[in-house]
Amino acid sequence: MESADQFKAVQPLQYYKRFLDQNIRPDGRRLQEARTTTVNVNFCTHANGSAMVRIGNTTVCCGVKAEITTPSVTQPNDGIIVPNVDLPPLCSSAIQSGPPTDYAQTSTKLIDDILVSSNLIEKKDLCIVPSKYVWVLYCDIVCLDLDGNLIDASLLIKLPVVSVNEKTGKLEYDHAKTTSLTLRDEPIATTFAAFDSDAIIMDPTLEEENLCNGSFTITLNKEDDICSLFKPGGTELDNQKLQNCLKHCKRRVNSVRSLMQNAVSS
């Protein structure tokens, strides 16, 4: 046993490769198996909608707060959605306190892009009085425990959050209204990590992310169409490999979808 630990410490990559050759990972998962995922909805009463998602050890929680603001001059009918991914020093020893790291900023922008391209919330729905009052949704995502695969968890969180986003508002004391937002879509992301072009694994942990040769994230919407394909560098893939991953991705998305429906309905 001790020698296995030593081997891992000295040659982590070789250690992993040995496992991958046997089609299994050191934590006992198969290559295309995700970690246990749990979704918890509405944990915070002060937020208009909130959710906590765990994928293995990675824990992410998100609270949405709706406030009223004046729209931009160029888009008077559009509401505003501001996502933000926060990686506080609390979540990992690698993070020091200070302004958001590059990783946090990249994740923020990526999530923003996915929100826009999946058309999750029609911005027109957030309009109260054109060019005067619109809703602004602050979606703050806080990572509590960083163990790889942040994007999946963060994106997963969005859905339950916004779907329970019931808003009550009074403007100028006269017209009160209660609305529940309609969700146009449900994007779900799956991250893969590639060690080389033959060993592609789903849902990498932090350790695997650090060792692998590039990871990529595929986001599918409710019709199984692609709303984001984010592959920054890493191992090169051909069409065949991509299709393969898409297939696994669909399987994963289906299981996550049912998980989420359960969470929201309960």
């Binding site: 009223i68 996502p83 808003k167």
Partner: protein
């Protein structure tokens, strides 16, 4: 206000809808009617407490605590090496960071630490440092991060409790486990562990009346007080009384924590 270039742009001003709805009726409700509080508790009754150790896999030690609806998570890193040479000291250093999550309070909070958070970080440090054996890790630093996920009153005392549990989980040597509790005095009654709508606020206070809130961090084994925080205006008699109530509450809390720690030790032994 300077714009935050490291985050996506936000509208310059926005109003929280709840501030537009005037909620006078709730504020006027008495804190106590028929010996019961607004949430049907007795004056000295604590809310339900749930505590768990080892919740963050990457941290040396971590804890999560729920007191009623108030939820706090805390992680401890270290002892870590102190890099700057000018900060040399033969005693270890503690470093505390207390933060409200942006969505934790009725009003949305900023990402940047505001004055209240900075002050509470300092107070957290003051409350914990008497209990930590700082001489055990010279030239090193222990970092404590507390994050309030939901604030439903007594968030700061929950943070102290959570931080001391996280210190235990991180196996940092302690003289004792600091436990904190909060008592509010509204002029007539003393109530333990106030929730958000029972907490003292400056706006509500009427200067002629006695009104205030006391927080005590207590070392139950050493029978010493490590921090005492008091806002409002109280006569010395009431202050004494409320401190006694706080200490009683911390002792109840302490037994809960002992159970929690026992469980952790048991799981290690197995």
């Amino acid at each position: 206000m300077p714009t935050d270039t490291k985050r996506l742009p936000v509208p310059e001003t926005s109003i929280c809808p709840s501030t537009l709805i005037e909620d006078i009726s709730a504020k006027k409700l008495p804190l106590i009617s028929n010996n019961k509080r607004r949430d049907d508790r007795l004056c000295t009754q604590l809310r339900h407490v749930y505590a768990k150790l080892k919740v963050i896999s990457q941290a040396q030690g971590s804890a999560y605590i729920e007191i009623g609806n108030t939820k706090v998570i805390c992680s401890v890193y270290g002892p870590r090496e102190v890099k700057k040479r000018d900060e040399f000291s033969m005693d270890g250093q503690l470093c505390c960071d207390f933060k409200f999550a942006t969505f934790s309070c009725p009003q949305r909070r900023s990402h940047l630490s505001d004055n209240e958070e900075k002050e509470l970080s300092q107070q957290l440090l003051n409350a914990l440092s008497p209990a930590v054996c700082l001489n055990k890790f010279p030239k090193a630093r222990v970092e404590i991060f507390a994050l309030v996920l939901e604030n439903d009153g007594s968030a700061f005392s929950a943070a102290i409790n959570c931080a001391s549990l996280a210190l235990v989980d991180a196996s940092i040597e302690l003289y004792d486990i600091p436990v904190a509790a909060c008592v509010r005095y509204d002029g007539v009654n003393l109530i333990v562990d106030p929730q958000l709508n029972e907490e003292y606020s400056h706006q509500e206070s009427n200067l002629s009346e006695e009104n205030g809130q006391v927080l005590v961090a207590y070392l139950p084994v050493l029978k010493q007080i490590s921090a005492l925080n008091h806002v409002g205006c109280l006569s010395s008699k009431v202050l004494n009384q409320s401190m006694k109530l706080c200490i009683e509450a911390t002792q109840k809390m302490h037994t809960i924590f002992q159970e929690c720690i026992k469980e952790k030790v048991k799981s290690i032994m197995d």
